[in-house]
Symmetry: C2
Subunit: 367 residues, 2 copies
């Protein structure tokens, strides 16, 4: 689903004005723009809605008020071979699972219940049927686990493998957006962060079984990246127990999501480095690969955990509920006035600006 556009367009003085190709001006190519700026620009005239559209472009999912106490949520995510995954480094079952998981996570981030799925697939003509079957088996497994039904889709032929998964969800209450964070509330996050990026680093380095890397740890980190578990149940518990003022799923990296909430809500943030829930495996993997694990935790993305703002009083009740699912729920900071900015407090008490950079599939490659 389209994330909230947050980058300013380049100033017209340095580049030709968007939409205009002044004679002699250099033509603007899409690669010159980031994903967010492009979305912002292309949809700038499409944001006038009627009263049924509770949420349009700009959150994890769109929301429609369809009847008394009935909201419909819609989200879609497109995954492309060579950009969002590498066919030779993921099993078809994992790929199918992940393609569905990222959209289920968007529904979870609104507090909704995913219900129905459309699968659009672009297949290379030379792909083996067995591989396509594996993808559908991976999707079917995750769909069954969440009680969602595949009700349609489309199938075309494309040079590279493409999966676009649309999920429709439902909820009775108004969805939780990224725009409601209240000063005085705390930031809290489900599970732990950084493991997916560590797993991706293992894939990039081509670390195989039998290497110097401890196998159990390698498997666990790869699983975090290749088989993310959308926090659907947790989203429902948060909605009921935690009364969150804002919620978002961590697809682009924790820092980026904190910024999304702050920009959407018009608030600032204090995030405490010492409170970030990072698994020991992630720290050790950082040591072994000579990488900064904090970079993974803050900017790696694809953790698909839920980042929430809620009152500190509600945190305990949520923790109690989530403990029954063996899921941690950690306070990592607090919501402050916008004028204080978005700060990261280091272990020594020193504060730095929290860099916004997340993972942008459109214009960047991961570190």
């Amino acid at each position: 689903m389209w994330p909230q556009p947050h980058r300013k367009l380049p100033a017209p003085s340095t580049k030709p004005a968007w939409g205009l190709t002044a004679k002699g001006a250099k033509t603007v190519k899409l690669k010159d723009m980031g994903e967010f700026a492009l979305i912002q620009h292309l949809t700038r005239n499409m944001r006038a809605y009627d009263s049924t559209v509770v949420l349009g472009i700009g959150d994890d999912a769109a929301a429609i008020r369809i009847a008394e106490r009935k909201y419909v949520l819609l989200t879609c995510d497109m995954l492309v071979d060579g950009s969002h995954f590498w066919r030779e480094r993921i099993t078809p079952g994992q790929l199918g699972h992940k393609a569905l998981a990222v959209s289920l996570s968007d529904i979870a981030a609104m507090g909704g219940i995913p219900r129905y799925v459309l699968i659009s697939a672009g297949w290379p003509a030379n792909l083996e049927l067995e591989y396509a079957e594996g993808i559908y088996q991976g999707m079917a497994g995750l769909a069954a686990a969440h009680g969602v039904f595949v009700i349609g889709g489309d199938t075309v032929s494309t040079p590279q493998l493409i999966l676009d998964v649309t999920v429709m969800g439902e909820m009775e209450e108004k969805p939780v957006t990224r725009s409601g964070a209240k000063i005085g509330h705390v930031f809290a996050v489900t599970g732990s962060i950084g493991a997916s990026a560590a797993g991706l680093a293992l894939l990039h380095k081509g670390i195989c079984a039998g290497s110097y890397f401890p196998e159990t740890m390698r498997q666990a980190l790869l699983k975090s990246h290749l088989l993310p578990q959308p926090r659907v149940k947790e989203g429902g518990i948060l909605l009921k127990t935690g009364r969150p003022s804002a919620m978002i799923d961590i697809s682009d990296g924790l820092a980026s999501e904190v910024h999304h909430i702050c920009e959407g809500s018009g608030v600032g943030a204090e995030i405490y480095l010492s409170r970030l829930p990072v698994h020991e495996d992630v720290k050790r993997a950082g040591d072994l690969l000579g990488k900064d694990y904090l970079n993974w935790a803050l900017h790696g993305g694809e953790d698909y955990e839920l980042l929430v703002t809620l009152s500190e009083d509600d945190v305990f009740a949520v923790q109690k509920e989530l403990r029954q699912l063996s899921v941690d729920f950690s306070i990592i900071g607090k919501v402050v006035d916008q004028k204080n900015g978005v700060k990261l407090f280091l272990d020594e008490g020193k504060a730095v600006n929290l860099a916004k950079k997340g993972y942008d599939h459109f214009s960047h490659t991961p570190d």
Copy 2:
């Protein structure tokens, strides 16, 4: 949206059983299968639904019963450069229009009202921003004409241009499917058929302005192919006035759609060649290009007209309503017992089997 799978899978005796790769057996590639067989095969274990799913995989759109007298329709269609369109032969505005039109047409074919749109786009990095803007302008124009809102989507980078448009529609009554045709009812079709395929033939032949081809006619045929008008209003009128027993939009060609209705409904058909509404321009274009215009009309596809079965008594009332929109509504045949097969009655009264072949983007190229 996935069409109804209608081809039988190849017998296991001639090819390895699907899902099994027996040692030494030739691996099955996707190109060895047709689009319909592939969908049928991949989704074979995904068709167990709960009672909210009124229509799952297999019609123009899926349908969910979401509340008392409230159905939600969902459909998506993926268009790929080089397969569904050729970037050098369509303006970006036309492309945006068409990408949305095909999905609006799916909603119209159920008798529904399209309401909300998600746009997933895969952009080549080197594409000019102006081109992308043109696509969105084309979509925005058609969306505004039908009062639908673009509420979300996704944006990724891909080698070739890809648009996947999901449309959500609504209706108060139960949707009209392709499966309800009643013996004794007639087949009728809105507008005329074959013009889109004639326009495609002009594109393929590269017939430009200033050629021997009459320019007004050339423009009209190209418009039929490049700027199809989804029959949304007409679908609503048909639902209210015509009480259709079955309805489908003509995306794959009239013959193919007649077969879809017959297979879905367990009936046969008599189609009368002399009754097919084919515009004079289409016949003349056939003469000029040395092509059989009937092939365009029967098997060309992308007309996006509505093919309906209804009682002959209701036809007049529908014609009266549609005349106010300057839209023809022609009886082209009748629904008969399944044992009579699907026949095309030629002008001399001789009947032949109506070949099912339609346009299959996945495994064929058009003639």
